[in-house]
């Protein structure tokens, strides 16, 4: 990791989480809270008596995995704008500002997932991962997706003021559609066909398979999100290059 990115991460740690705050715990509580809520509803309707489906584990892993793109887009979006003053140091490049926020976010989401996963495992709500390699592959692919999107949106935020107004609505809808909270098997075949155009659904399936193992039918192709990410990151880097010319340091 470059010296500059490392320095930016240290700096960001203090500015974001402060010295006394427990801000980083949010990446831990958010999926925890949601998993609890769904489990509560599940139990209330007595689904657990009719089904052995590990609902808590299912929600937990999908949610935590989805945060890898949702939180990184949010963090990267204003990365350049918020730290524009630092570009006065010519060794600090716009991409460093995005990369440092991205890495910190991936670290904090991953840390939160490990912490929460350990607690759930101890409680017997989450199994030991069925296949670590799939779990890690999915984690990696989703982080990569988050990076591509983070770079893309940080470039777009400089190129156009309009993007910001649509971002929240877009993120909200995409959060529901992305595949983090439903499995491909749960939707009708006709819809599934279209849903599988979303790379995030493939990745979520890979991650779920890695944790839960063959308890249901999974629909994924590893090559699809890989190719998608490759194309997306190339477009993002190109747009960032274009956007860089537009950045004027005060």
């Amino acid at each position: 990791m470059s010296r500059v990115v490392k320095a930016l991460i240290f700096r960001e740690l203090i500015t974001r989480y402060g010295r006394k705050n427990f801000g980083f715990l949010w990446t831990f509580f958010e999926p925890a809270f949601f998993a609890f809520l769904v489990t509560l509803v599940w139990t209330f309707f007595r689904f657990h008596e009719k089904s052995t489906f590990p609902i808590t584990a299912f929600i937990f892993i999908g949610y935590a995995n989805g945060l890898l793109w949702r939180n990184t887009i949010g963090q990267c979006f204003h990365a350049i704008e918020a730290n524009q003053g630092l570009l006065y140091h010519s060794i600090v490049k716009p991409i460093d500002l995005v990369l440092s926020r991205f890495l910190l976010e991936v670290l904090s989401v991953t840390g939160g997932a490990i912490g929460l996963g350990t607690i759930f495992y101890t409680l017997g709500w989450v199994p030991m991962p069925y296949d670590w390699s799939y779990l890690l592959l999915g984690w990696f692919l989703m982080s990569w997706f988050g990076l591509s999107m983070g770079l893309l949106f940080s470039a777009l935020s400089i190129l156009s003021d309009v993007v910001e107004h649509f971002l929240n609505a877009f993120l909200y809808i995409f959060w529901i559609l992305s595949g983090s909270l439903y499995a491909a098997e749960m939707v009708p075949a006709l819809i599934r066909e279209y849903a599988l155009y979303l790379p995030t659904l493939h990745i979520a399936e890979i991650v779920r398979y890695g944790l839960l193992g063959p308890i249901m039918n999974y629909y994924y192709e590893i090559s699809y999100p890989v190719v998608f990410n490759l194309v997306a990151i190339c477009i993002a880097l190109f747009l960032l290059k274009v956007a860089e010319k537009k950045i004027e340091v005060e």
Binding site: R3, V4, A7, R11, Y88, H89, S90, V92, V249, E250
Partner: protein, 218 residues
């Protein structure tokens, strides 16, 4: 290896609502080690833009900058401060990005910026004078071959200004400087090459007096 900075055919244009403003027009300049450049220019003549292009903070519209020495950021720049960071945090950050050891620099910065206990408090609690002193001290904490000084170093009281002068021009007499100003006295005192930036053109003169003559006739 020879140390220098070379600007080749630098142009900088800013889009305006109506048309385009050419802030710099085809500038060629070589800064060698121990060169002390003084640039005279009126407000808005493009001095700051030129200095930012030399530092690398701003990209030229066309032309290129070849850097074969370590060039500072524009001195005493305060824009990089973040309110919740302390003076020490800022020192650590600067040292980390430039690859210096911050532990070795604490004494210098503490001594130079005269912040006392405030060095360990968030920058948002600082007075504007304290901020300026910290920014100045941080600029000097890192070792550069060429220092860029945009406008007179009018930081702090007279005593502090004197201290800054000693630190910059006496202790670093073997370095290069680019000093921009709209007054000749400072340039006369510290520089050995004299320029006027006028209507986007950079013109070199033999002496400060010639430069001043041209400048005051504008």
């Amino acid at each position: 290896m020879e140390k220098f900075v070379k600007l080749e055919n630098i142009c900088k244009a800013f889009p305006l609502r109506i048309g385009v403003k050419y802030a710099l027009k085809n500038i060629n300049l070589t800064i060698k080690s121990e060169d002390k450049l003084g640039i005279l220019g009126m407000n808005g003549s493009g001095k700051s833009t030129l200095i930012r292009i030399i530092s690398g903070a701003t990209k030229p519209t066309t032309g290129k900058v070849i850097k074969k020495m370590k060039v500072s950021w524009p001195l005493a720049f305060q824009g990089g401060f973040q309110g919740s960071l302390t003076g020490l945090d800022n020192l650590k950050f600067i040292c980390r990005i430039y690859g210096a050891n911050w532990k070795e620099k604490i004494d210098f910065v503490q001594d130079f910026a005269e912040l006392g206990k405030y060095f360990y408090e968030p920058v948002k609690t600082y007075s504007s004078g304290m901020r300026a002193r910290l920014a100045f001290a941080l600029s000097l904490a890192i070792d550069f071959d060429c220092y860029l000084i945009d406008e007179i170093v009018a930081v702090g009281d007279q005593r502090f200004q004197k201290k800054s002068k000693v630190e910059l021009f006496e202790k670093r007499a073997d370095r290069s400087f680019v000093l921009s100003s709209h007054q000749p006295s400072y340039i006369k005192e510290h520089c050995n090459r004299f320029f006027v930036l006028s209507e986007g053109n950079l013109i070199e003169f033999e002496s400060i007096d010639q430069a001043w003559q041209f400048y005051s006739k504008q």
